[in-house]
Every structure is written in structure tokens, then in C-alpha cells.
Symmetry: C2
Subunit: 442 residues, 2 copies
């Protein structure tokens, strides 16, 4: 059955052109050489962690599985390829029936990863598997960059909740992915409404400076907000003068005021002053939330200040200096004409890789990780105490429902908490260092 138009695969639009053109031209040439049906194994891994990070968090897997289901070529996609002579008519016909029917295994979403960890393993014919390279990397590289940065903020914040508020600092669809990835990494909520709908991430938000400026006075604005949401709302107190605004906020809302938000200035000093002022006004349960260009270092610096919660924007959605996780998608094995598996790898100097279909376990001692152990799957699991890291994600073309949608997102968040709890304490330092667990190839 040939799909028509470019819409409506698994409820979404086609993702088939979200690819680098070379995947299509490689397919075309491989069909020509007759090699396109060779069974292959591709692997996604990161050569290294961003400069000085101690560990990374895998994110994006659940999104990727849904996008792979929508990776179908309808008439619109095919006619673009044909009209622009990107591939031959033989290949157009082949693509019309494309649907990934292979198997994908890998790390669970929310899992901790290290250099070389085989985060995703794609098994299928060359033709089927090569087409997923760019989509897989776009999703995993962005989402994992955000989750890896977010995890550092979560440990810097300790028990205090973090809200992701960076939608305006990344592409409009990346914003949704980012909200989801930060939630997986331990953030409590997001300002992004679509992330609430699509992925079940708790959403929050009250008012910006424009709301105060719209009204004829700050008092009128505060009263309008209290009228709409009750005194438990969060009032933004830095539009004009923080001290006056805090007085006014408590006057209008009463001492049961939920929270005040501060979005500018020297936060450590400001927060202490506002806390004292709130307490003196009897608003001892009113919380203080801060939102001014925070990153993991600023959050750590506020540890001794009486902050109740943080809103984080730019730094989380841009991976706090490392906006792409640097994962690559490499052919590691294929069958030869005799049906034997051949390990393959690029040999040139700076980017040499380790071939072969691999598996991985995290070796543990008293529940604490000490080695990322990567081995050739065909040689069998080494007899080591530890946790197996590879799970089924897609089996014969069908995505495992455990990893999809709202439930999959929540499962990833819970798994992240467990995986991070296995790391030694040195994982949580913010200064630069080596990966906290060394990778060993067996």
C-alpha cells in the first residue's frame, strides 16, 4: 500500500525528508551495486563527553521511535525527490514502500552514558538502516545535550525544584523536545504548553513584565492576577522597584501569597533582602523563585541563599555551552556474500572507531558503578557483577510501547533517577574532570 500525500503516519506528518541527502544517494548507489540488502549493524555512540563533563544522560529515544514510525515517503516526498533528480526511478519505487522493519536496541532513555557507550544499535538491511542516520542523530544529539546539562543543574539545585523556561531561546519545535529532556533529567515542570500536551510534562507559568505594564499601576496588575488565580499565584516583583513591589504584593494578596518571582539584579543579595522583607510582613510561607540567566554554576552559587525554586532558560535549552552531544551513527558490521558477519570501522587517524555488534553492561560494586564494560555481542556477556544496559526498542519494525508517549517519558525520568543514583559522588562535581566511570572494551 503506497501512502498518499505527505501527512498522517501514526498521527503525524512525514519525517522522511528530515535527512541529509547523502543517505538517499548512498541508497541509490547501493541499489545500483546490489549491496543495499546486505544485513548491517549501525551504532550510535559519542566519542567523548563535552569538555570536562563527568557523565551524560541519553534522551530523545522515545521521540525518535515515534518519528521513525512517521518516516514514510508519500507522494509529496517522492515527487520532490523525482523532480529534483536526487535518486533514480528504481529508488523512488523502493522508497514508496519504505517502512523500517528492522530491530533497534540500545540504552534506555534516561540512562547514563559514557564515551563509547552503544546508545543505539540499528539492525536491518543497509538500505533500511542508512536512511535513519540523520533523524536518529538530530534527536539524540539535541535531546541528550539538554538532558546532560539539565542533570547537572538538578544536582546543583539539591532538593529545590527547577522549571524549564527556555522555549524562546531555541527553535520552536526544539523547545518542546527540550522541555521533555529537562523533565527526564529531573526538572519538575516546564513553561512550554505543547510539552504538556505531547509528553505529559507538568506545565507552569503566571505573568511577565508586560502584564504589569499593561495596567495603569502595579497594584491594578497584581489585583487582576489575584482575582484570576487567587493568592497562591506567583507575582513578578521586579518591574519597577522590588522593595515596593514586595510590600504591594503582600498588601494585595495577603500573607498567604504563594510566591514572588525575581528576574533581574544581583540575585544572592536580592533574595536575602526579599526573604527578610516577606518575613517581616508575616508572609513567612511565601516562596521566592528566581529566573535570571541561571546555569548550573549560578544555581550552585545560590545554595546558601533562601531561594525556593529556580526557573532556567537559555542555558538548559542550549546544553549549557554544549548544544549538541556529539554522537555519531556508524556502520560497525555487515554480512558478506557468504552470510558471515564482518566487523568494519573507519581507520583514519583522528576518527578511528571500534567495529562489531556490541553490547554493554555497567559494572557495579556494592551498587556503585565503576566500569562501563563494552563487549562484542557474539562473544557473550562477561561474568561481571553489573547491570545490563541494552534493551529492545524496536523489534521487527514495531516500537516497544513502554518507551512511547507520556508513559515512556515518565519511565525515562524514573530510570534516570535510578541510573544517576548508581554514580559515585565524584560524578556531581561541576568542575571539569574525566568521565566518572572509565569505558573498557573487552
Amino acid at each position: 500500500m503506497k501512502p498518499s500525500g505527505s501527512v498522517a503516519y501514526a498521527g503525524g506528518v512525514s519525517t522522511a525528508l528530515l535527512t541529509d541527502q547523502y543517505e538517499l544517494t548512498m541508497l541509490d548507489a547501493a541499489i545500483g551495486s546490489g549491496r543495499h540488502e546486505r544485513p548491517c549493524v549501525f551504532e550510535v555512540f559519542a566519542r567523548r563527553l563535552p569538555n570536562g563533563r563527568r557523565y551524560g544522560i541519553v534522551a530523545g529515544t522515545g521521540r525518535l521511535l515515534a518519528l521513525i514510525e512517521q518516516f514514510r515517503f508519500g507522494d509529496d516526498e517522492l515527487s520532490f525527490l523525482q523532480h529534483n533528480s536526487i535518486v533514480s526511478t528504481t529508488t523512488i519505487d523502493w522508497l514508496a514502500n519504505y517502512r523500517f522493519s528492522g530491530t533497534i536496541t540500545g540504552y534506555r532513555e534516561g540512562e547514563v552514558y559514557f564515551p563509547g557507550s552503544p546508545v543505539l544499535i540499528v539492525e536491518g538491511s543497509f538500505a533500511e538502516a542508512v536512511l535513519l542516520e540523520t533523524l536518529a542523530l538530530s534527536v539524540l544529539n539535541y535531546d541528550s545535550a539538554v538532558a546532560s546539562a539539565a542533570a547537572r543543574m538538578v544536582s546543583a539545585a539539591g532538593e529545590r525544584p527547577l522549571a524549564e523556561m527556555g522555549s524562546r531561546r531555541t527553535g520552536e519545535r526544539s523547545a518542546v523536545a527540550s522541555a521533555r529532556a529537562a523533565y527526564i533529567a529531573g526538572f519538575s515542570a516546564t513553561s512550554n504548553v505543547e510539552a504538556g500536551r505531547s509528553w505529559g510534562v507538568p506545565t507552569m507559568g503566571t505573568a511577565a513584565h508586560s502584564f504589569t505594564l499593561l495596567h495603569d499601576s502595579e497594584e491594578e496588575a497584581f489585583q487582576a492576577q489575584i482575582d484570576a488565580f487567587g493568592p497562591s499565584t506567583t507575582l513578578l516583583v521586579d518591574t519597577f522597584d522590588v522593595e515596593k513591589a514586595v510590600d504591594l504584593a503582600v498588601k494585595v494578596a495577603g500573607p498567604e501569597l504563594g510566591a514572588v518571582r525575581i528576574d533581574s539584579g544581583d540575585l544572592a543579595a536580592q533574595v536575602a533582602t526579599v526573604r527578610a522583607q516577606l518575613d517581616s510582613l508575616g508572609a513567612t510561607n511565601t516562596r521566592i523563585t528566581v529566573t535570571n540567566d541561571l546555569d548550573e554554576y549560578a544555581i550552585a552559587a545560590l545554595r546558601s541563599a533562601p531561594v525556593d525554586s529556580y526557573g532556567v532558560g537559555t542555558s538548559v535549552v542550549t546544553g549549557s555551552g554544549y548544544p549538541a552531544a556529539g554522537m555519531v551513527y556508524k556502520l560497525v558490521a555487515h554480512q558478506d556474500d557468504a552470510g558471515e558477519w564482518v566487523s568494519v570501522a573507519k581507520k583514519s587517524t583522528a576518527k578511528a572507531t571500534v567495529g562489531g555488534h556490541k553490547a554493554a553492561l555497567r559494572a557495579l560494586d556494592a551498587g556503585i558503578a565503576h566500569t562501563e564494560s563494552i563487549y562484542q555481542a557474539a562473544e557473550g556477556r562477561p561474568d561481571v557483577e553489573g547491570r545490563d544496559l541494552i534493551v529492545d526498542l524496536v523489534v521487527n519494525g514495531s516500537a516497544d510501547a513502554r518507551w512511547l508517549g507520556h508513559d515512556g517519558t515518565l519511565a525515562a525520568r524514573n530510570h534516570r533517577a535510578q541510573a544517576v543514583a548508581e554514580l559515585p559522588d565524584s560524578a556531581f562535581g561541576l568542575s571539569r574532570g574525566e568521565p566518572v566511570v572509565p569505558t573498557v572494551y573487552r
Copy 2:
């Protein structure tokens, strides 16, 4: 007419939830206070350029106008908001009929901008205009970050063409935006196929290392590629040993081989060696393209090497260190109850802004820009030689067709070339400095 479901506004899916929740709660509270219909002016501007950049390039405008047409609340969007009690039923009813009916003016896409430039000016009721804050910023901040970085690479590359190849290093939809923004900034082509379809960006791509590794030998792989695309194709020569691969490439394709691509190693030295080797084999017209983690500095460093073209990935799609342009969306004026316009601005220390509905011109002397002149629109254009910067983008809810689709993208690319040509030579230094043209508020 109430839209149904969440699909199919102007051919796309609803963008209405690509927003921070506070825009909806502000709307809700403003409906409560009766202030939601006050005529307002919001302005998008950047407080500063990224550290040491000399100018920025506005990008994303054409995409944003299309996304605003899809900013409609269907049953799916409304039921999410209702089910989660994000806004009141009164507000749900109001949103069901929402369609932006105001006016948007601003800088043309592809225009040069400086700190304070009023890049986008949104006029409408508070209710209508406040909802667009996050969408406008997501699009403009990401696309302008990419275009601003790309423009530096374009000037560093001189006459040599640049291809954008970074799809795998940014979110899967941001990848499309990125390809488009780089094209507007002067790149020649992209690897991203969807950017070709959606925006008319020329696409390119041949083969990755996996194609060579799939075959039983490098020779078999090269032959397969030549068979499919002819000798004018680009062969990737660094899978095993560059020198042997170059010999083989010319042996298989003949001296009419189109190009070789090098993706690793010390490029300056490597390129010179490969050039000499190709010439000695008679392949004097075979071009050399390089693609290994390039940014504007690496491109400039290769100025004296015999490179014919560059492929740029990570650094362009992540804004070369500055992945978000830092633009903000601020209420600058509203009408009071008497129908008089009131300028408004946040007063607190670090983030004070200039209120009022502004316009801008770029003052020129003999065709070269010397001042970004920003003035209050109501006071009239100053009598200064220069180019007016504000154009109509959306008039009474209808987007100006000149800025949309393939044509709009090409128009933005052409405009960028003209706008950049007005800049003084000091704009093109890569070292850090002040904005090349000072901003003056009149």
C-alpha cells in the same frame, strides 16, 4: 467558524501551544481585569550582540509569518487547556475564535541588525499580541543566531562556496530552519532535504564512510558511486588511507572526477598534499572539499590552502558559540482609557528598556552605514541620508506574500547581500569588537 481538531491551518499543524504558559495566564487575567482589548505595541529587539560580534543578521521572519497563520486553537488545543485548568472557560471561548488580526512591521528578513534595532513590531490588542511572544522569539532567536554565525563564515570563505551540513547536530526541525538561515546568510547549499522541499534551498550530498565500509573494497564502493552518479560526483577519500584513496579515485573515475572530500586530519597540510597528488595524476580540475568540524576561524585559517569548497556542520547550526540571539519581546506602548498612547518600559536596573512605538533607519554616507538611528514613530523620520528599515510584514492579519515560501527565502538571501555590502570593512574582522555601527536613539 471554529476550527476542529488540531490540524490543517494554512497546510500545517496548529502552532498555538508552542508558547509559554504565562502568555495564556496573562490573557486570562487580562480578560478578567477588562484590559485585554487595550491596543498595544510589542517590540522584538536584542539588548546586545553576542560577545564581540560586529553585526547580526535577522532570519526567521518568513517562517514566523507562516507559523502565525497556523496559530489557531482547535478542539485538541482547547480541550488540553480546559482539562488542565490552565485558563477559564471565558478564555477558552475567546481562544476558539483567535486569529491574529493585527499588524506586524519590522526589519526585512536578511537585514543587518544591531543592539536595539526594532526587528519586529507587533500591533494589536494585548490579548492578540501577547500570545505570539514565545513563538516569535523561538523562531527569530534561533534562526538569527544561525544566520549571524553563518554570515561570518561566508565572509571568511571569500569566493569559495559553503554547504550547510549540520542537521545531525541540532533538533530535527531546527535542522530545516538552520539550513534555510544559513542559505539566507550566503551559504550555497544544504544537505537537508526537507529544506529543499519547504524553502527551495539547493540540496547536495553524496556518500558517507558507511558506504565505503558496506562494500568489499574501497574500489567497489567508488565504482558503485561512479556508476550511479557519473565521474562528476564527490568521492570521500579518508576512510582508510587518503593517499591510496586519491590514487584509486582518479583510477576509477578518470581525471574528470568532480571532487574529493576530506573529513578528518590536519586539513591545511592534507589539502596541499592532495592537491599536488591530484595534479600529478592529471586531475587538475578535480575539486577538494573539506568538512571536518569547521567554524569561521578554521575557514579563515584555510584561506591560503587549495580548498575549493567547505561543508560546515556543528558550528553553523549552533551559532558558533552563541546558539540563541538573545532577542526579547517587550510591551513598549499601550492606549489608556482616554485612547492616548502611553510609552511603557521596565525600569529595574539591569534590564531597563526604551519605551514607545519606534521606527529605524540606517544612516549612510556614500553608501556606507555609519549609524543605526532609532526614533519614535510618532515624531516622524529625521531628515538624514539613509535607508528606512521598517517594512510591512502582516497587515490586518494578512501576511505579505513577498516574504513567504521559496520566493521569500530567496528575497531574504538577496537582501542580506545588499545589506551586508553597506557595512564598513571593519564589520568583517573575526576578532571581538564593538558593533560596527553604533545605535543612536533620537
